[in-house]
Symmetry: C2
Amino acid sequence: MPTARRGRRPGGEDTRALILEAARAEFAAAGYDGTSVRAVARAAGVDPRLVHHYFDGKSSLFAAVIAVPVNPAERVQVAVAGPPEGIGERLVRTLVSTWDEPVARDALVGVVRSAMGSQALTEQLRGFVVGELMMRVVRAHPVSADLSRDELTLRAGLLGAQMVGLVVGRYVVGMAGLRDASAEELVARVGPAVQAILETGSPHGIRGVAPDE
Amino acid sequence: MPTARRGRRPGGEDTRALILEAARAEFAAAGYDGTSVRAVARAAGVDPRLVHHYFDGKSSLFAAVIAVPVNPAERVQVAVAGPPEGIGERLVRTLVSTWDEPVARDALVGVVRSAMGSQALTEQLRGFVVGELMMRVVRAHPVSADLSRDELTLRAGLLGAQMVGLVVGRYVVGMAGLRDASAEELVARVGPAVQAILETGSPHGIRGVAPDE
């Protein structure tokens, strides 16, 4: 039976939220491999069987953790809407403001650290971040209509590298220059690099576009 | 007593090299947390006590592994020598050609994966990569003489993010667009972004430099 940590018998939604909150902190602190359902249950003050009642196991718990507290695809969609020449700055601003929220940061840093220790998770996240999120950004720029499939993929990868570098540098590793910079300083410095990826032509990337178009 | 894997009794240098080779493969495959001295000894075909004879423990073994097979500081020094306007492209070319060597890649991917799972290693590597390597790059550009300490640190961080993003995207995570691009394609795409970090002025970063200098 669950031990109610806050002096009351938790209802279903409360218990699930309590477990998720504990799991988020555990994954962030110990990574995917270093976290057990038992440790999550202990941190949440519930019986491990109760964790299994709400989640199929550790990977399902992790999937639930990375699904909260933000929906990355929604935020990216909002960032890319609007004038194409500002996509780079808006994307960096969205990324930094999302990760700067402490609750989101803990969850997301946990995701990154965990993914590095698990080939399966790496592949899961790669598909989500590059194939889904970054491809949305590439396709939001009008020039994308004239690009080959290979060029779209390369641009999504280059954007992914920008995002991963910024995230790892500022939040996971904590490089002094990036950790201490203001959000707008990063928007001003990294935004143009992101925009350049969306706009720079490749000699063999653009099909059927005359040079003056 | 050591078990000689190659049918002879190994001398000191041979045995040490054998252990290092095994450790490099283990760290690359399992990360820092997932690797034990026992597993390294087993892979090397020697008694664990022999590993302890040559290395103080797992962290000392790891330090020896990340010191080989390339000296990153030497390669960066060679890359930044020469005309300042080509530093960005030369740095990316050096990074990619170094990591594209299979032996170096295994060692370095192991370093990255391991660092993600260990706060102590993260801090060690951060100091080396940003404080040492990237700061060398920033200082190699003549404009650095007129920059504040904060601006130098920010630039080193921004460069670190570029390198980390490229490395994680191409080698650790294997994002399709980056994994499949040729070295020269990456030089052409990422080089200018690196160069822009070295050359772009910050409104409050440059001290005592007139706009026309």
